[in-house]
Amino acid sequence: MSIDYIFAIPLVPLTLFLLLGILYKRIKPSVSGYIGVLGLLSSTVLSFVAAYQYFFVHGKVNGVYESMVSSTVWMNFTPTLHIDMGILIDPISVMMLIVVSVVSLMVHIYSRGYMKGDEGYTKFFAFLSLFTFSMYGLVLATNLFQIYIFWELVGVSSYLLIGYYYTKGTAVAAAKKAFIVTRFADLGFLIGILIIGYYTGTYDFQTLTDPEGSAILNWGATSFMGLSVITWALILIFMGGAGKSAMFPLHIWLPDAMEGPTPVSALIHAATMVVAGVFLVARLFPMFYFVENGFALNIVAYVGAFSALFAAIIAITQTDIKRVLAYSTMSQLGYMMLALGVSGYDGHEGVGYMASMFHLFTHAMFKALLFLGAGSVIHAVHSNLLKDMGGLRRYMPITNITFLIAAMAIAGVPPLAGFWSKDEILVAAYEHHKLLYFVAVFVAGLTAFYIFRIYFGIFWGKETAYAHPPKESPLSMTFPLIVLAVLSATVGFVPFSEFVTADNVGFEAHINYPLAAIATLTGLIGILLAWAFYKKTSTLPDTYARTFGSFYKWAYHKFYMDEVYLFVTRKILFRQVSERIAKFDKKYVDGTMIGIGNKTVLTSTKIKGLQSGRVQDYAYGFVVGVVVLALVFIYLWTN
């Protein structure tokens, strides 16, 4: 199977970006929208062709889906250590291609309606194309350095898109925060890469993740401060992944990133970029699993579980619907990490890995749908806040129904997509560790509760007095909603475990009925509670908020994580370190240099009196000199 045509998939959006970026002023907005959609459509078609060819035409070789690589040297470090640029085709990258293409295409179509009349319309599509290109590059990367390169590029696209409304102070701050927090995480990633490159002498994924390869067997044994060097590297790399995937404690940028336009939130901060961390761990999964019996993998599992719980609790208390969705994203990403963390490698052992990828896949669909639905609502009422909404089901029927489908999907109502993937995760967790399982089930209940809380809040409840009666969004916006709703309802039936597994062999997944029943029940309880609380205006929420008192307050303030970070950055790093250094530089370093100059001037002022211009003084000095010299010479000659 020739894979060279796959190069076209990322190159199309790159061309679009350059085209739209350079012709920025000279292109009509309506035209640029069409160009963007058409370009993405071709990429999407190619992605589907690639998936079809890879899974069905090429199929398994010796019982596994083999990885295919086509790459060229981009830069040499040493003759053996180099950065390659190319594409790596294996089940997860093909799956990611589909995810990115579908969501990106839908967002492109949606944006044509959502961004209509915005002065930066062309710019917006250019940035979207840049992002799509980078994301393709990331998922197709053949080696750690290539993934790092595109990792940075998606970061910067995200920065540009969050700061899209650049005259708005909060958007600027959010963009900056997102970039710097992820950059900090990338520092860990980069150091991890350096360590791996130094010890194993390669960045190539295929060499690194070979379970019989030297990276895992030999270097896994070299230890540093009690742990294997590779484990250290993996922990640091996971730090990078945690930054992108908003894991606790590096999640603080994600809620703020909702300042960007809603389609951006749907594409970048819900469906694609934020799963890059999960993808990275999955990419290096054999290393995580085999080196030191999965020490690093355990960290992944616990961080994931904690983040899932933490974010779900916060999500309940937030009043901005996009923030609720953001915390929900974080929670679901935690789920995926948890699934990876509890996974094994061979055959059915690897159910966690499979479940994680499956959840990534389904989550991309229904979370994008939730965001686009929320965007449609925001478009209609011009506010993000729950209190400005209510009773919208009468005005926006399509949005209502699609949103409901998405909400049921994320709550795990059978037979929608979320049910299937979440079930697999619970199975994996149950088999690994009971505590993680209970956390996961609890989070499932919370998820159902908070998502139906906003659903009822938006579409039911008391009708707010609207200045302009809200209208259903135009077709360009509802069409993607319908497509995604259909997908959210149906992708659960894809026999995912046949295609994407840790060892690329594939197995047959079965539903574990007791666990599925428990999960579904929990979800339904959550939904019913939300029904009771929020279907009609009632005093119940306030009562319970008061019951929980300070805990509610903490959750409402996101457990003061922002404040902690602000304290560390502003008070310690800026005030204490940076300002001190600036002062130190001015006062001491520069002061020393200027001091030397001043001392020279001072000395010269003092000794310039010697040059008095009085011949008598010179004569005096001359005679003194003669006498002294004469005495010296006499002394020397007589001895």
Partner: protein, 495 residues
Amino acid sequence: MDILSLFIVIPLLTISALLFCKNLQQSRIVAMIGSFIQLGMSINLIFSYFNERLVNSDIMVFTRDIVWFKPFNIHYNIGVDGISVALLALTSIVVLAGVFISWKIKDLPKEFFISLIVLSIGVYGFFISIDLFTMFVFFEIAVIPMYLLIGIWGSGPKEFSAMKLTLMLMGASAVLLVGILGIYFNSGADGGPLTFNILEIAKVNIPFEAQKLFFPLTFIGFAVIGALFPFHTWSPDGHASAPTAVSMLHAGVLMKLGGYGVFRVAMFLLPEGALHWSWFFIILSAIGVIYGAFAAIKQTDLKYINAYSSVSHLGMVLFALLMMNATAWNGAILQSLSHGFMTALFFALIGMIYERTHTRDITKLGGLLKVIPFISVIYVIAGLASLGLPGFSGFVAEMNIFVGAFSHEEMLYRITTIIAVSAIVVTAVYVLRVVGIMLMGPVKNQTFLTLPKVTWYEMTGIFLLLIPIIAIGVAPLWISNMIIESLQPFLHGVL
């Protein structure tokens, strides 16, 4: 006339042509043509270098040797390898861009362009010399016009800054001269005649005691102009007072003389001394990297921010040079190039912003993206390049440095590498801070709404600098191959 001497002769011709110019129009055209020919020549040099390399495997090619002071065996001895070719190209691009940026210079245009070109003679001469003494002479030629350029055409406390800059660099030169003479008087250690020729000296085994003594002198002498902590303080004041084109040339090219000199003289001729002292200077330069970045966060003057960022970036160059392996050296040279283009671009943009808004204080600026979109977008791009975004030259350079430095055997060096790596976060903070405050947000001052658009000559200057940044960043292989090939003799010399 050989191809390299033309690099000295053509600026001289340009200067003599400038002497006959009467006004701004004439002088800028002449200066532009002169620099344009230079640029053409350096591009030509790159191609002829590749052709020459196919048949000639000497360390230096296009050499020429003329005695100009027999008693001390001083020669006008020139030649280039891949590193100097790259730096010559950098110089000619920055000079041409500088001429474009000074298109509307008000006072004494003729004299301004003459000084600018004298400066470029010094730089060209420095990069092509293989004779230590000649190199030193060109070094001084490059430093002296700086005083006039800042003192006459500068702004703010220009006399003070000019004097501070010149005095500190002269002080460094004094130290450097001692180092060079030390090398010279030890060049006969194997029984041969005393010589200033770098290639000859490299073959001599200079006694370890002498190396130990003269390495720090030579290193510091060169590193002061490369803004080594704690001798960097001339740079913020100097840059802040200098006119735009001078800042560009100074930060873009002149500060590179430091790194190049350290590499070509201190490391190449005194390898054992370098090994002996490297730990000390590595710590200094690693401090410089972090320190410069942190100091940049708190500045409010655009030029100060950039000056401190230069301290940080050039600290990286010295840091990499001391790591003594091909990857890090390659990174150091690439970083020199990349920083040269990037910082020149920055200063050009700052000049344009200043010309329009009459302030460089970022707290007074805001929302420029709305009023001067082109300049602001390029500023964002330059900022992203500066924080090491892939696709720009900075990333390529930094990755080479980090990978090279990290592959050092000793744990101390690897720990300092990690410290230096963390500068990428701090860099992001100060770059984005400026972008956030100055370019984004609401328009702070209503008078900004009527700012003039970018002009053709400004655009030309910008693109001259931007294209190489992207070219190196997207396709680094050819240039890094050219450099690595030239590093081989040095590697054999050192290891």
